[in-house]
């Protein structure tokens, strides 16, 4: 440590200590958005327009599961003592967004596994599929909802003032999910679903503008991050909505934009 130029006292220092959350947590937040976004949009589609969405859903659930598993690996590895991951299930504590989140993720993972298995092995039963979907939906939604609140319910600079962080995260997750599914649908040639997802993506991006602006203001995000995220998460995908061939570009832009925003989010206390 280099000594300070004078005996500076304490008044101009940040009182709080940043948690030891770094790259893995950025990936966790990102993967959380992807798995929940992909699942939620796919599930709504699957329920609303089963025929149109069947080919997309067959890929979406295994994808959501894979991303969820990667997310869980990030979460476990980020613990100070990963061998104690199961301690998370020791209590159910709704006052703690993390506890709520852990239980939601766990509860979401079980039907999702079933759905993924059905998709992979081609089991399609009349009652099981919608039942699993209905069970998984609220938990997946909870998994998306808790994440932002977890960050805003802290004493950390940036996070503690971000009243719209949760709303940003969840709308962003849905937009990302829609975008990814759109690209997937285009790739699979499921044109009906692709058409629907195109509009859903645009709608969800527009819905996310308000929370994103509020969040950016409260969070006092850096100018570079704001420009990058505005371009990647909003302007570019909206421009590309009219261009089905460029669906994958829009999806990648949404993913990268979401990653940049989340990286800025996670590292904010360490900058203070």
């Amino acid at each position: 440590m280099t000594p300070s130029p004078t005996a500076t006292g304490y008044a101009h220092r940040e009182v709080t200590k940043p948690p030891n959350w770094h790259g893995l947590v950025v990936w966790d937040v990102m993967l959380n958005a992807v798995t929940t976004g992909v699942f939620l949009v796919a599930a709504v589609g699957d329920l609303a327009r089963p025929t149109a969405f069947a080919p997309v859903a067959a890929w979406a659930y295994p994808l959501a599961l894979a991303v969820l598993l990667a997310d869980l690996v990030c979460l476990v590895l980020d613990l100070g003592n990963p061998l104690r991951f199961h301690h998370m299930l020791r209590v159910f504590k709704p006052s703690s967004p993390m506890s709520l989140g852990v239980w939601c993720l766990t509860a979401y993972s079980l039907p999702l596994t079933g759905l993924a298995a059905c998709a992979l092995f081609g089991w399609r039963t009349e009652w099981l599929h919608p039942a699993l979907l209905v069970v998984a939906l609220p938990f997946s939604f909870g998994s998306a909802a808790y994440k932002g609140v977890l960050f805003s319910t802290t004493a950390q600079p940036g996070w503690r003032d971000a009243r719209w962080l949760g709303a940003y995260h969840v709308t962003s997750a849905l937009a990302i999910g829609a975008g990814v599914l759109w690209a997937l649908a285009e790739w699979l040639g499921a044109s009906e679903a692709a058409g629907l997802l195109r509009w859903a993506t645009a709608g969800l991006i527009l819905l996310g503008v308000y929370p994103a602006v509020r969040f950016a203001v409260e969070f006092r995000a850096s100018r570079v991050v704001m420009v990058v995220v505005t371009v990647l998460s909003f302007v570019l995908p909206l421009v590309l909505v009219a261009t089905p061939q460029a669906a994958w570009v829009a999806a990648v832009a949404l993913l990268v934009g979401g990653y940049v925003a989340r990286s800025a989010l996670v590292h904010r206390p360490h900058r203070s």
Binding site: T2, P3, S4, P5, T6, A7
Partner: protein, 894 residues
């Protein structure tokens, strides 16, 4: 401690630490009590809570200053000027305690008219001999007028015979001529008044660098808090002693407290805060070259000392308690030589080596560096790191044939041959080094004597690890081996070692407190050593008091002042830990010498008639009905001597001490405002500049520094003597709470190192701006002896002072770092010099002249000799489940 000894009779703190809470005002000066003695400082803080005023006068604004009501910054080394200003204010404005001063001090005594003061001789007292730079008190007519009992000899002014100064102060007539009106021009009071007239607030401010108002304010606060109803205490430490004028600084404090009537009373006195766990004890027992145990003067090569009779005739004071000295000396000889000590051989008196000059540590270092020494034993001390001019100390160690170091860790003294960054490579160092691993204090038993003269026994809790042994074990076994080696000698020079009584074997198996047997069987029985110091009669009965000692060889006593600590078999009062509700002196917690008196001179807490000066400040009083002195403390007076007692003409011993004179160790029973004897650089304190000072002496321009100081010129010890532009900054050294001395007991300890990990110099922003460095930069501090690299801690707590019409910068250097340990760094003691005051051969570590330079950028480039160890141990606590393991040891389960 001649400063206190010559003034009051005993060279030790006059009171106990808890008594500080009873003070109405405390002047902390020459002490950074909150940092150096944090637990002791709880008592001044209690006083503050009760409404007392705390004053700190110091070169630096320290953690002590932070808690005080008043802080006065002064230039290091100007304490006498400041105290002189207080004394002058008290006298000039009639703020002194008249009844106390008239009855209990020598204010009224008429001094020989031949005496000349510094006022008349340009900064010198009469009797100065410029050829050997000493005073001859006899030739200088320092004595009281008229008959003076025994005459003093010329040696009194020379260094090397210190007995008088520590205790009693020397002989003066028990009933001197007095002028109770204090008008006689040669009475002590008038001499005092004239002597300090020069110390006006303005003159003092000009020397010290404070404001005149601050001098007046402190004087007023002390005066307002002294008298019948109120008392003030002065607290000092090595900030006063480590000066070439240290003894006289303490004298000045004694004068002030006597004038204000603050002696022997609750919340009064002078509290000497000493540095080491048993530094008081090591002075008492006297591992000092010029003293025998109990402050008995070690005989010298003086012709009169060639026989016991001659020695006793010359050294025994005729009146006061010291008249019993023959009993103390003979009993000591009986303790040492046992049956071999007989009246025929003068109890072996001839076997005691005669002091033939100064053999104090600094002088010995000088001899060592000049190659005059063969070997050296170092027990729990670190001269290579903590000695004055430590570079010269290491040069001395390199010139030895052999060195024995007993310590816990590989200190600088143990590793000077391989780790000294300024020394030659090991292949060029001839010294043979024996490192004896020492037992820690929990691993041995024995007695420590704290700063308030309290003997406290510490019990052994467990066995030491490996081959670690107590220092007692080592000295005992070494003595046994030497006795074996000398057993067959017929040479008379070997008789003392043959005659020395040396049996401290344990008579019972050594059992530890957990009822297991000790692994070590040849540790000496420490209690038997303490009992030998306590003393016994010829038939082996333990003494209850030193009053029982005889000069005919029928008693043996190793250290008379400790008598009474083991008054009967199975009783060790040092190991008694009982509280006494309602008695503030806590007489049953440990044992205080002498005879468990907690406040010395406590006869002075009552007025001449024996009544307390006030209800608020009572301690000891005369009980008319019982016809004895009574009160919560043990009276420091003959218990049944009435206040009305007047000695008959020609009385000797204690019979010569009147019932209304409290200072029983003095031949006249009085506190000495004017010390005709016992202090070798003048009967009164005068301000002299430090040996190294950037300014001249504006109070005595013709006499810049103490005329009697001895220097040791040579290439290893150059001085920046004259006020010089090369070394314009005043430096002082200090102790941090987080470290201890030169570091052997703290720099091997990670919990302390992390609190203060690096050597630094504390300096003000003005100096930093002038030289061009910032907080945290590396700087070099230089004296003519050495330059050390350390961090700059730039702080507004240090301010330049206006002295002599210009700004003088001061810097503070903690003296805790050197080159061995988990943390290493520049050594402040490499900067200090070897000089010696005439009274006690004291150096001047607390003030010297330096230059501060920028850089080098990379720091000192020193590597620690030990890797930091985060945990003392990671072993789980034995026999303890996870739920009770220490939380941070991370040994708990789950």
């Amino acid at each position: 401690m001649p400063g206190l000894g010559a003034t009051l009779g005993r060279g030790a703190a006059t009171t106990y630490q808890q008594d500080l809470a009873n003070a109405d005002c405390l002047l902390v000066m020459g002490s950074n009590m909150a940092e150096a003695h944090p637990v002791g400082f709880r008592w001044p803080l209690k006083a503050k809570e009760n409404g007392a005023t705390l004053i700190h006068v110091d070169p630096r604004f320290s953690r002590t200053s932070a808690l005080c009501d008043v802080f006065v910054p002064i230039r290091a080394g100007t304490d006498i000027a400041f105290l002189g200003g207080l004394i002058r204010h008290v006298i000039e404005h009639d703020k002194w305690f008249r009844e106390f001063v008239l009855a209990y001090t020598n204010a009224a005594v008429i001094v020989d008219e031949g005496f000349r003061d510094t006022e008349e001789l340009g900064g010198l007292f009469s009797g100065f001999d410029p050829t050997d730079r000493t005073y001859d008190p006899q030739a200088g007519h320092w004595n009281y007028a008229g008959a003076n009992g025994k005459t003093q000899h010329k040696d009194e002014g020379n260094p090397g015979t210190h007995g008088y100064g520590h205790m009693g102060g020397g002989e003066q007539h028990p009933q001197p001529q007095k002028d109770p009106t204090l008008r006689h021009p040669n009475c002590v009071f008038q001499i005092l008044k004239r002597h300090f007239a020069r110390y006006t607030p303005e003159a003092v401010a000009g020397v010290c660098g404070c404001s005149p108002e601050q001098v007046v304010r402190v004087a007023e606060l002390l005066a307002a808090n002294s008298g019948r109803e109120r008392t003030s205490t002065i607290v000092y430490a090595v900030g006063w002693t480590h000066h070439t004028t240290g003894v006289q600084i303490i004298r000045a404090a004694g004068i002030l407290q006597l004038l204000l009537g603050n002696m022997g009373r609750p919340g009064g006195g002078i509290m000497a805060m000493r540095g080491h766990s048993s530094i008081q004890g090591s002075t008492d027992v006297a591992t000092l070259y010029d003293l025998l145990p109990g402050y008995l003067p070690q005989p010298t090569t003086d012709d009169a000392h060639s026989t016991l009779r001659g020695y006793l005739d010359k050294e025994t004071l005729s009146t006061g308690y010291w008249a019993n000295m023959p009993a103390f000396v003979v009993s000591l000889l009986k303790a040492w030589y046992g049956a071999a000590a007989t009246p025929e051989n003068e109890f072996g008196f001839g076997w005691i080596p005669r002091v033939d000059g100064d053999h104090s540590h600094l002088v010995t270092t000088d001899r060592m560096a000049r190659g005059e020494m063969t070997g050296y034993f170092v027990f729990g001390q670190n001269p290579a790191g903590g000695g004055m001019n430590a570079g010269m100390q290491r040069a001395g160690l390199r010139a030895l044939d052999w060195l024995v170091v007993a310590d816990w860790f590989e200190t600088e003294t143990a590793t000077f041959w391989k780790n000294d960054p300024t020394g030659p490579p090991p292949r060029d160092v001839k010294t043979e080094v024996f490192f004896i691993p020492a037992a820690g204090s929990p691993e041995k038993e024995g007695t420590l004597v704290n700063t308030q003269r309290l003997l406290q026994w510490h019990n052994q809790a467990l066995d030491p690890p490996g081959d670690c042994r107590s220092d007692a074990w080592f000295v005992y076994q070494l003595g046994r081996r030497l006795k074996e080696l000398y057993a067959d000698s017929a040479d008379p020079r070997d008789w003392p070692i043959q005659a020395l009584t040396w049996d401290y074997d344990r008579r019972h198996p050594h059992t530890l407190p957990d009822r297991t047997a000790s692994r070590i069987h040849d540790e000496p029985d420490t209690l038997r050593i303490l009992q030998e110091m306590n003393g016994r009669t010829a038939d082996g009965r333990l003494l209850q008091t030193f009053g029982e000692l005889k000069d005919d060889g029928s008693t043996a006593c190793g250290c008379w002042i400790y008598s009474g600590v083991t008054p009967e078999p199975g009783r060790n009062r040092a190991n008694e830990r009982d509280r006494t509700p309602g008695n503030p002196v806590e007489p049953n917690w440990g044992f205080a010498w002498p005879l468990n008196r907690r406040v010395m001179y406590n006869r002075a807490s009552a007025d001449p008639d024996g009544k307390p000066w006030s209800e608020r400040k009572k301690l000891i009083w005369w009980d008319e009905a019982e016809q004895r002195w009574t009160g919560p403390d043990v009276p420091d007076f003959e218990p049944t001597k009435p206040p009305t007692y007047r000695p008959p003409a020609g009385a000797t011993g204690m019979a010569a001490i009147a019932g209304d004179t409290p200072f029983i160790m003095k031949t006249d029973g009085l506190g000495w405002l004017y010390a005709a004897k016992g202090v070798k650089d003048g009967p009164l304190p005068a301000h002299y500049e430090p040996i190294e000072s950037p300014v001249g002496n504006s109070l005595h321009p013709r006499q810049p520094d103490n005329p009697t100081v001895r220097t040791f010129p040579g290439p290893l010890n150059p001085l920046a003597a004259a006020p010089t532009a090369d070394f314009p900054v005043v430096a002082t050294t200090f102790r941090l709470t987080e470290h201890y001395l030169s570091g052997p007991m703290s720099r091997f300890n990670s919990w302390l190192n992390e609190l203060m990990p690096e050597m630094f110099v504390e300096c003000g922003p003005e100096l930093a701006a002038e030289v061009g460095f910032a907080n945290g930069d590396w700087v070099t501090v230089r004296t003519p002896r050495a330059g050390i690299v350390c961090r700059a801690l730039v702080t507004s707590r240090i301010k330049p002072l206006r002295v002599d019409g210009r700004a003088v910068h001061q810097v503070g250097l903690p003296f805790h770092w050197a080159f061995a340990g988990e943390t290493v760094g520049g050594n402040a003691n490499d900067l200090t010099s070897i000089v010696a005051d005439v009274n006690v051969s004291m150096h001047e570590a607390k003030v010297f002249a330096v230059r501060v330079e920028k850089g080098p950028a990379g720091g000192p480039g020193l590597l620690p000799t030990k890797r930091p160890v985060a945990w003392p141990t990671r072993e789980p606590t034995p026999g303890t489940p996870p739920a009770a393991q220490p939380e941070g040891g991370y040994a708990h389960g789950g």
